[in-house]
Symmetry: C2
Subunit: 182 residues, 2 copies
DNA sequence: TACAGTTGCAACAAGCGTGTAGCGACTATT
DNA sequence: AATAGTCGCTACACGCTTGTTGCAACTGTA
C-alpha cells in the first residue's frame, strides 16, 4: 500500500523510533492493517528503503551524467537527487547504513558514477587539478544533504537549491583576491 | 562517574538506541550501578548533553574569535571544535535538538559568534561581498560535521582537518578560470 | 442474492527495556 | 575491630511495543 509507505516516511522522518501505531494513525488505517501488508516493522522499513533506493537510482540515471558536459551533468544530478531526497528524507538516510543489499548496490554505483564525473570535471578544468576527489565527493554529499534539509522544510525548488550547491562546491565563499590558508 | 559518561558516549555513538545494559557493560559495571548514578536513561543522556555543551562552549570561547583577525579566528575555532566533536560525537548531536536548555543557550551563543565572525570576514574581504551568510554558516557546520566524522574514524589531527575545512569553505573546488554556473 | 476480499476492532501472548529493592562482598577509614 | 560507602548480583514489577487471531461490517462483483 503506497499510502502506508508515504505515511511511514512522514512519521519516521519526524521520529525514527516511532511505533507502528503512529504509522497506522498517520496512514488513516488500523495497526493490524499495517501488519497485514508488512509482516514486521523491519519489513516495512526495508520496503521503504528499497523504494527510496530505486527512486535515487532513477534520479541519478536520468541525468545521463556520463554523456553530458561535466558542469551540466553536475547540475542535473544535483537537482534530480534533491527532488528525491526532499521527499524521502528518512528512507534515504536508511539507504546508506549497509543493511539493505539493493540500497548498497545503488549507492556503490552512484558513488562510482560520481567519481567518474568528478574525474571528467577535473580533466575539463571545472575542478582544480589538485582537488582531492574523495574529499570533494564527501563535501558534495554534505552540501546536498544540507540543501535537502532546507528543501524538506519548504525552502525553495530543486533547481534553485542545485544552483546554490554547485556554485558553493566550485567557488566556495572566499574572495578571489583573499589570501589562502593552505 | 566519568567512566560511565565516556562509555555511554562510545555506545550511543555506535547506536543511539542502545540499552542501559550495553552502556553498563561498556563501562565495566553492573546495570544497577549505572542506575545508582543516573536515575533514568533520560537523565544519563541529559548529563552527557550538558557535558558536551560545556566542552563545546569552551572550545569556541578559547579561540577568542572576536579579537583576532577573521581568518585566524576561523581556523582556531574550527580546530578547537573539531577536537571536541571528534570525541563527543553522539553527545554533540544531542546538543542541537532543543531538548537541553543549557545546550540551546550555548548553541545560540555560538551561532551569534559565528555570524559576527562571518560579518567581520566579509568586511575584511575574506568572504565575498555577495556571500549569503546564513547559507555560509550552514555549509561551514556541514563541513565541520564531515571532517569530524573523518576525525572520529581516525583520519588525521584537528589542525590538518581544520585547514582543509577552511580552505574548502573559502575556495571550493573549482578552477579559478572555470565558468560559473550562477 | 451470494460471494470474495479488505478493513476495523477487540483481545491476547510474548518479549524487551526500565526502574526498584534486598542481600552479601569488598574496601578504606577511624 | 567497627563502620560507612560502593559495588555486583538476583529478583521482581511495570509499561510499552510487537505480532497474531477471530469476528463483524463493509464493498464491489457475478
Amino acid at each position: 500500500m503506497r499510502t502506508i509507505l508515504e505515511a511511514a516516511e512522514r512519521v519516521f522522518a519526524a521520529n525514527p523510533a516511532a511505533t507502528m501505531e503512529q504509522v497506522a494513525q498517520a496512514a488513516g488505517v488500523a495497526r493490524t492493517t499495517v501488519h497485514r501488508r508488512f509482516a514486521t516493522r523491519e519489513a516495512l522499513v526495508e520496503e521503504l528503503t528499497g523504494w527510496a533506493a530505486r527512486r535515487f537510482a532513477e534520479a541519478v540515471e536520468s541525468a545521463r551524467a556520463d554523456s553530458t558536459p561535466p558542469l551540466v551533468a553536475l547540475y542535473q544530478v544535483t537537482a534530480n537527487v534533491l527532488r528525491v531526497k526532499t521527499n524521502w528524507w528518512f528512507a534515504m538516510s536508511r539507504t546508506a547504513d549497509g543493511a539493505h543489499p539493493e540500497a548498497v548496490r545503488v549507492h556503490a554505483e552512484v558513488r562510482d558514477q560520481c567519481e567518474r564525473l568528478f574525474h571528467r570535471a577535473r580533466e575539463a578544468g571545472v575542478l582544480r587539478p589538485d582537488a582531492d576527489l574523495d574529499w570533494t565527493r564527501r563535501v558534495y554529499y554534505a552540501l546536498i544533504h544540507e540543501a535537502a534539509a532546507e528543501g524538506a522544510a519548504g525552502g525553495g525548488d530543486a533547481e534553485a537549491l542545485a544552483t546554490r550547491v554547485v556554485d558553493t562546491l566550485l567557488r566556495g565563499f572566499g574572495s578571489p583576491a583573499a589570501p589562502v590558508i593552505a
